[in-house]
């Protein structure tokens, strides 16, 4: 990534989904700017504390620090962030954020909170995987992204009749435990 910005492809440095305490729900780094987990956590802490007090619930907000541009949006107890280099086109980053935010909304059927997100972590991770590949934007249309991710889960949510008895039993047990835990 040594090419000057003007010749470089737009690139995303990371996508972060944190909870209302700044803890990770799902994160994905596409850049070597943060080589260790400690560096990543330090960055997340800075991002979280600097944006915590802002109101990014209706419109995506934006901040700049440590030579990064961060666009972000919050809903319930979830904080969505997309980071880019300081000379990246802010509106491209905002488009990626919208793609992430809206497709997660669709995948979680509107119940966008930390608990739902963790229970469907596989969908969230697949979603990030469909938006950016190695820093390059793969897709920005939330419906297309959600469609690609959801098509995967159709099969696993196949009707009970097509599952083996053990599978059906496992599913039932899982539903039961889950409802108990609630």
């Amino acid at each position: 990534m040594s090419a000057p910005y003007s010749e470089a492809c737009p690139s995303v440095k990371n996508i972060l989904l944190l909870d209302s305490d700044g803890k990770r729900v799902a994160v994905k780094y596409f850049s070597d700017d943060w080589p260790t987990n400690a560096a990543k956590e330090a960055f997340e802490r800075v991002v979280f504390t600097k944006t915590q007090k802002t109101n990014a619930r209706t419109e995506a907000e934006i901040a700049m620090f440590e030579n990064y541009i961060v666009v972000y949006k919050f809903v319930q107890d979830l904080h969505f962030f997309v980071t880019g280099g300081d000379d990246e086109n802010e509106l491209i980053l905002a488009t990626v954020l919208t793609a992430f935010f809206d497709s997660v909304g669709t995948l979680l059927r509107g119940n966008v909170d930390k608990r739902e997100a963790l229970e469907n972590l596989d969908l969230i991770l697949l979603c990030i995987d469909e938006i950016v590949d190695g820093g390059i934007i793969l897709e920005t249309d939330p419906n297309v992204i959600a469609g690609k991710v959801a098509s995967n889960s159709i099969d696993s949510a196949a009707p009970l009749s097509e599952q083996t008895l053990t599978q059906a039993f496992a599913t039932a047990r899982e539903h039961f435990t889950r409802s108990l835990l609630k």
């Binding site: 003007s6 737009p10 799902a26 930390k114 590949d133």
Partner: protein, 887 residues
Amino acid sequence: MAQPLVKKDDDRDDEAEYSPFLGIEKGAVLQEARVFNDPQLDARRCSQVITKLLYLLNQGDTFTKIEATEVFFAVTKLFQSRDLGLRRMVYLIIKELSPSSDEVIIVTSSLMKDMNSKTDMYRANAIRVLCRITDGTLLTQIERYLKQAIVDKNPVVASAALVSGIHLLQTNPEIVKRWSNEVQEAVQSRAPLVQFHALALLHQIRQNDRLAVSKLVTSLTRGTVRSPLAQCLLIRYTSQVIRESGNNTQPGDRPFYDYLESCLRHKSEMVIFEAARAITELNGVTSRELTPAITVLQLFLSSSKPVLRFAAVRTLNKVAMTHPMAVTNCNIDMESLISDQNRSIATLAITTLLKTGNESSVDRLMKQITNFMSDIADEFKIVVVEAIRSLCLKFPLKYRSLMNFLSNILREEGGFDYKKAIVDSIVILIRDIPDAKESGLLHLCEFIEDCEFTYLSTQILHFLGVEGPKTSDPSKYIHYIYNRVHLENATVRASAVSTLAKFGAAVDELKPRIFVLLRRCVFDSDDEVRDRATLYLNTLGGDGSVVETDKDVKDFLFGSFDIPLVNFETSLKNYEPSEEPFDINSVPKEVKSAPLAEKKAAGKKPTGLGAPPSGPPSTADAYERMLLSIPEFANFGKLFKSSAPVELTEAETEYAVNVVKHIFDRHIVFQYNCTNTIPEQLLEDVIVIVDASEAEEFSEVFSKPLRSLPYDSPGQTFVAFEKPEGLPTVGKFSNILKFFVKEVDPSTGEAEEDGVEDEYQLEELDVVAADYILKVGVSNFRNAWESMGADCERVDEYGLGPRESLAEAVNTVINLLGMQPCEGTEVVPPNSRSHTCLLSGVYIGNIKVLVRLSFGLDGPKDVAMKLAVRSEDEAVSDAIHEIVASG
């Protein structure tokens, strides 16, 4: 992540804390991963376990090599399942585990099978996974499939192949470059994202071929690029082509400008903004080119979306640095952004306004900022403080309100960096605006009364010691300084003692009182404080006799330490205790990598306290001291001016030489800074032979050769000329570098015995009229002009002929005269037909000169100029006219 069981029970009551991963533990999950080996695969269960593994990795857990290998092998078994969802999770975890090359082989065949599957999802993902984990050897095997995939009718598959191509180009460029035909076809795809990825890859394949990039841009800017992202890319590539086409085109008919401008009317904001930004960043952009871009950015300023407002204000802020006038139209929109919820936007708006504001709006702006300062973070405050500092230098008349603002915020809460930025700003204002000195120093004094930062206190005390004695009433600072001796820690006390001593040395009438104070300090509890007090009492003659401080003492107290600390440290370490005392004059003064001249060029603008008393004068001081240390120059009198270094060689030649012209009243000294860039050579007896046949009034009096010039260690040789006293004599000099070359054995670093005489032709050197004028600014030009009076005024008019622009004409005249532009009048507003520029300077012989230049456009390009000169001497006023007439 492992939590005690009891805790888990507690959490179960607290519904908000529920997490499906509560109590998750790596060991247990790895155990669970054994289900991957079941003959009867439970796809759902397996997916869950993979999710858990991914969760662990995501939280920062790491697997050992053995664990990762085990998981990887178990995962490969899952290719047996035909469950779509599970397969997706398998792809994901393989990428996360990033297997080693010998492990990759295990999954290659499965992935290659998926690459040819009928299911698009499999094809797309298998390509991405395989390309991520593969190495070059495997790539040739799958190349055929990848080329097919690039032109696949399914856009997801095509994009997957193209994006993988972009990544692979870094590691296997020769393979990816073979795909150009397919990639070119994909650029024409109807699917927007495919077009974007194809364009990015095509450009990267061709990026080293300027002609090909130019052709690509030419053809695409005419056609239709559908995807906004691809459009943004095309804009970036277009700016690259414009930049590389260089300066050979006239401004006004820049190629592709029309394309950029048409993008300003695109329906996607992303594209509009990219185009607007590209236009503002064009080299030497004209105001006519800027206008449409500024207009769309101005519209963005009032958008409801913070991201748009931020992007626009950030770009306008950058434009304001180079074209402040172009941004003034947005000032009203900008002012409403001061109260923006988003503090980044507000700060950018403020600093932009500070850059574009005029003298009359300063007070109103300051009022708005005062309200705003209290609720922003320190890092933003620093930005504002720096903007205010440059504003104050631009409008020195407004120093009172700006200085007040700075002193007010200095009293408020704030961290070290913020306080340091304020103090630095005040210090710079004190140095550059003489009227601001006394009030500025008092603000600093008040600040150290209650300053929690030792570093700032000591720096301010040092600064007070230098500047305080020169004020009208030095005694009023004494109690602030002496208070430090009572109230502060040892470091601050010691530096307060030094400051007191400086007052004592510089102001004779204060001496008796200073002695009383210093004698008290002798009883301090800290040894450094006691030592300093004793030392100063002795050097200043505090034993009772009040004598005038002699020069040595002043040098000791005020002279700066002109020996590089590194050299000093080495010399001290090498010194062996003996009868002979350590001689500070034995320390080499040559700095290894940076000669004096370059140090100035490389250094940033004066950064306040950290820097020695202001940038350029300090270089002059350094030059003066250096020249005085050469006995032959000692009787030349006071150094009037040292020019900036002039390069006499091309960059990257064998020997790099630049010259600094030192002007004295009756002499001129050329200081040749030489650097030998050949490691295998040692140069000896280096001298510059100067031919002054085209400079008749100069006669060479002395030259000082450089004994030895080793590789990469700059050295200086000097040549001095005599010239008519006090006159701005000009001339042209040709130079030849002469020396003995000795071969150096690179392995041992030893030079051979015998040298060969050699010469090296240098470029010619001019001594021009501007060398005899010092750039010295005045804070209030009108007052200075009027107090100078019209006695020695000379006015005349000149036709400058056709010029590229008014600004270019103004610059030429400023450079010709080498004088200091005042009150920001060197900036010509775009589109103006006339301009007045104010200059001030000091002419050789220490005669103040003020110049008022009025320019006007006469016809389309012809520039006419009226030159009014006032000085303390008619002859000097005439001389300035002569410079212009002959220039």
